[in-house]
């Protein structure tokens, strides 16, 4: 076996272990360790991605001395490695972009705890990406939930604690449903490993016995993961959680945590149930309807909002609706569009959160729109970045959001019966997006005479500006050279089967 095949295992264990190590370190060292770990994991994922692209074969890695149905396994293909690389990039940029705000938002003595949680979160995301075993996935989903809850309430204002409680209640409902579905699945198939379950599922569908419990199990798992990733009717915890936590947390939560669950759902669809069997159930219609509802109602709530960070949070609800709409189409093209949207939304939403904090900082810390008037002149970098993010969200060419909308539209055209609904809702949602994002952009570029707030120059915030530039670059790269990424996604999906 090639040495590179050890990299997924190394990256999971490295990030887990660094969590333990950070508990003994002072905050400054913990920060360095955190950055180093994220970089190292990112580099390993990049090397792994190149290796996988060159061999074109996914590989299985035993976690222990025992082969397939007896021991744990992890598995790496192009999509997994690419996702891990992307998650690391976003996480590094989010941490770097929010670092200057951390001392003001979190008590000094709790900084190292923050880095522990980030490390644990990274390891759980990696494990969710790489795992080939359902029960391992459940355990790491719990780590993900707990550390995300920690990230929400590390800034201890009343709102965040309330949001954390709501988040935990919803997440635990979701975990319960996921675990129940998993147990029924285990009872029907006798396996916990994804590939073995898939074989048994195929047998069950061929035999016709146990079909009803199988579909119920799949539905329970899907609903559980939908609740956890804040699909529209289950999003009550989201605005407060994203709106009031520290800026790095908000960026990480919105762009990575919910995406981790969605990626797990994709894995379940492809590697556990099988894409065709999943598409023959009614579940995709439910996902489709919820996705459409989320797209419209999320945007409407965002329009009503008077607080910039809550507005961005509500926009997340709409974007997650897009992703589920792609699942609901039930075609390969829809799936590719959804996965591309996962990437583009992660890149854009964290950019928006980080840019918004720059704007509110120069407006006396107020997040109300009325105080943000002209903020873009006071902090030019944040203004440009926010505009770029907004354009991407609305779907202007050159940015990543445009490509994902294009892919969604292309996918919708191929689907009978759902074409009209998805195209109309896509159009309405784009208009609504444009309303609230352009409203904000106009507001921050409006001129005012009297301003009591002082501006900020490049010299005061080098690291922050560089982060923003990287974010914008990431967005533009996704938007301009989308074809290689789409090809990679298709190749990865082919490897899933």
């Amino acid at each position: 076996m090639n040495f590179i095949c050890n990299f997924p295992f190394f990256s999971i264990l490295l990030s887990l272990f660094s969590g333990t190590i950070c508990s003994m370190l002072p905050a400054k060292t913990a920060k360095v360790v955190n950055r180093v770990v994220i970089t190292a994991v990112g580099l390993m994922s990049a090397v792994l991605l190149l290796y996988l692209l060159s061999t074109g074969e996914p590989f299985i890695y035993w976690m222990g001395h025992f082969p397939a149905p007896w021991g744990n396994e992890i598995r790496a293909g192009v999509l997994e490695a690419g996702m891990a690389l992307f998650f690391c990039m976003i996480m590094y940029l989010s941490m770097a972009g929010g670092a200057h705000k951390l001392p003001g938002e979190v008590v000094e003595s709790k900084h190292s705890l923050y880095y522990i949680l980030v490390n644990l979160l990274l390891s759980s995301l990696l494990a969710l990406v790489y795992t080939n075993d359902m029960f391992t996935a459940y355990v790491f989903v719990e780590i993900n939930t707990i550390s995300a809850c920690g990230l929400i309430m590390i800034r201890q204002v009343g709102r965040t604690i309330e949001a954390a409680v709501r988040y935990m209640i919803m997440s635990l409902l979701g975990s319960g449903l996921l675990l129940f579905g998993l147990c029924i699945m285990y009872d029907l198939t006798g396996h916990l490993l994804m590939s073995n379950i898939k074989e048994s599922v195929r047998l069950i569908m061929a035999n016709g016995e146990y079909q009803i419990p199988l579909i119920v199990a799949v539905a329970l798992m899907c609903i559980g993961l939908c609740i956890k990733s804040a699909l529209y009717p289950f999003h009550a915890w989201l605005p407060d959680a994203y709106g009031y936590s520290t800026v790095s947390s908000a960026a990480i939560l919105s762009s990575l945590v919910s995406k981790g669950y969605i990626f797990l759902l994709i894995k379940i669809i492809y590697r556990v149930i099988g894409f065709d069997i999943f598409n023959n159930t009614r579940i995709i219609d439910v996902l489709f309807v919820f996705g459409l509802m989320g797209m419209i109602f999320g945007s409407l709530s965002a329009i009503k909002e008077k607080d910039i960070r809550r507005m961005i949070a509500f926009s997340s609800v709409a974007q997650i609706g897009y992703i589920y709409m792609g699942f609901g189409m039930g075609t390969q093209a829809g799936m590719v569009a959804s996965i591309f949207h996962i990437l583009s939304h992660a890149a854009t939403k964290s950019l928006l959160f980080i840019a918004a904090i720059g704007l509110t900082d120069v407006s006396g810390g107020s997040r109300k729109f009325i105080d943000l008037t002209g903020a873009a002149y006071r902090n030019k970098w944040a203004g440009v970045a926010f505009t770029a993010g907004s354009l991407s969200m609305v779907g202007v060419p050159l940015f990543s959001g445009f490509i994902s909308k294009l892919l969604f539209a292309q996918a919708a055209v191929q689907v009978e019966g759902k074409m009209l609904a998805s195209l109309i809702v896509l159009g309405i949602s784009t208009v609504l997006n444009a309303i609230y994002f352009m409203k904000t952009v106009l507001r921050i570029y409006a001129t005012t005479d009297e301003t009591s707030y002082t501006g900020i120059t490049f010299r005061d915030m080098k690291a922050y500006a560089v982060t923003l530039v990287f974010f914008i670059l990431l967005n533009v790269i996704l938007g301009v050279s989308s074809q290689p990424v789409v090809n990679m996604i298709e190749q990865g999906l082919a490897m899933f089967a």
């Binding site: 009343g158 709102r159 309330e162 409680v165 635990l172 409902l173 319960g176 147990c183 285990y186 009803i212």
Partner: protein
């Protein structure tokens, strides 16, 4: 309706318990009750799993006198999964309880809706 409902009475009980826990989690206004509901829900799932491993007339999977025939022992996998699950639910319970304490010291109530109204009213 299938024919195995009465054979699977243990699972049926666990489904009912699961739903009782679920209802508690949804409907109770008091956070402590919600947490108890959560625990009941988790226990119900573990009961379901343990029922899966049980085979009538066999004993616990602890090797006695070197007998390693399959006929002698029950399925060990569910027990292992439940052990892992119990640890998870204890951690989550501790976390939820500490959140409760924190909320109470701040707002002096355990009703989430009341807290939300209070927060909105303060306009923070």
């Amino acid at each position: 309706m299938g024919q195995n409902l009465f054979a699977n009475y243990g699972e049926a009980v666990s489904a009912i318990l699961f739903c009782i826990g679920f209802t508690n989690l949804l409907l109770q206004t008091n956070l402590i009750k919600k947490i108890i509901g959560l625990n009941i829900m988790d226990s119900a799932i573990y009961l379901f799993l343990a029922e899966k491993g049980y085979i009538a007339g066999r004993v616990a999977p602890i090797v006695v006198d070197g007998v390693t025939s399959t006929e002698a022992y029950i399925n060990p996998i569910p027990s292992g999964l439940v052990l892992t699950g119990i640890v998870v639910s204890v951690s989550v319970t501790a976390l939820m309880l500490s959140l409760t304490i924190r909320l109470y010291t701040r707002y002096h109530t355990l009703d989430l809706d009341e807290i939300s109204t209070q927060l909105k009213r303060e306009g923070k």
